[in-house]
């Protein structure tokens, strides 16, 4: 019995060590992509997102204005910063 334990113990340690180092070396999980508008939105083959993008300067200026004044209660996040992403 003792002999068997002595045989298995190093192997167990080796296995645990390998697992631990593998876990340690694993890069941090990527943070979820912060939200922005659906810039590349395509509906039924039509590039709807790019249609909106034609008005980008207009939308951007508006969002900057409401974000600067804190007047954006209907938005999930500070909209200008999110829009610029």
């Amino acid at each position: 019995m003792t002999r068997r334990i002595l045989k298995v113990y190093p192997l167990t340690l080796l296995f645990l060590s390998v697992c631990s180092s593998a876990q340690h070396g694993k890069p941090d999980a990527k943070p979820a992509n912060p939200p922005t508008v659906n810039r590349n939105l395509v509906i039924q083959g039509l590039p709807v997102g790019s249609g909106y993008e034609q008005f980008r300067p207009l939308i951007s200026a508006y969002l900057k204005e409401i974000e600067a004044s804190g007047d954006y209660q209907n938005w999930k996040v500070a909209p200008a910063s999110a829009y610029e992403r």
């Binding site: 939200p35 922005t36 508008v37 659906n38 939105l41 509906i43 039924q44 039509l46 709807v48 997102g49 249609g51 909106y52 034609q54 008005f55 207009l58 939308i59 200026a61 508006y62 204005e65 409401i66 007047d71 209660q73 209907n74 938005w75 999930k76 996040v77 909209p79 999110a82 829009y83």
Partner: protein, 283 residues
Amino acid sequence: MTIDSLLARRCFLPLLAVVTMFVANTLHAQGTTGTGSAPSSDTAGTVSGATGGAAPGGVFIRTRAPSLATARNVHFDAATNSIRSDQWTFPLQVSIAEVKEIFDLAAKQDFLAVDITTRSDAQLFGLSRDGKVAKQMLVTDLLLGDIAKGYGYFAPLYKTAGDFKPQRYNLLSRQQFAVIFVFTSAAWRIDGSRLLSEPAKLEVLSVPTLAQRDGTRRFDLDAMKREVRDDSITENARHIMENEAYYRQERAVRDMQAYADIAQLARELLKQNADFAGLFVGQ
């Protein structure tokens, strides 16, 4: 050609798929459930008449004169950012530049409208392209139109009322639609010395349209007579109208009511032969 021969030629199934898609598109465009965005003949007629048959799939501000008692000594008071007369004070919610632009246009026409065309340009119906008024109207159209047609361009960032998930409009439907957001004032009252408007209920109209070669749209009068509707837009429009208080919190949308009020006041003062040119002297 018989069914058997069609099957034999192995073209039956693709043909059936095409026919099914056509019928589905047609039925989708002619859905009759819901009444939320039924074209109001009164409003649609007004829009059509004002725009020469062009269908502004955007924001339309009606400027019926409010019929106030005759105002004397009308002037702009920069200190309080208001228009004042001997009888009342009208506090302005927007900049003097926007007020002046609206007064200028109100002297020429009784509506303000913008329309984003199918080619991502815009018809402005007399508004200056560089002016703040057209810009705010376009932003309102982009935001509310995104919800009304269920595209979802702003969806990752914008909170709809009650976390509503708009239904997506079928872009490939045989019948195309424009959505018109109509702002106007229902009545006016003087509270103390303050002149206040009572906003009319926001109208969200779904209007069948015919696309033109230049990217603009015109009313499809035949489809309107048949009361052709789009189920998705009908549902989304109903949501917006039922939650208009929520959407009026958005600054651009809020400004639409301010514009409607100012335009109507301008029309009233015009009716009373007030001196527009002298109103903003030095501003």
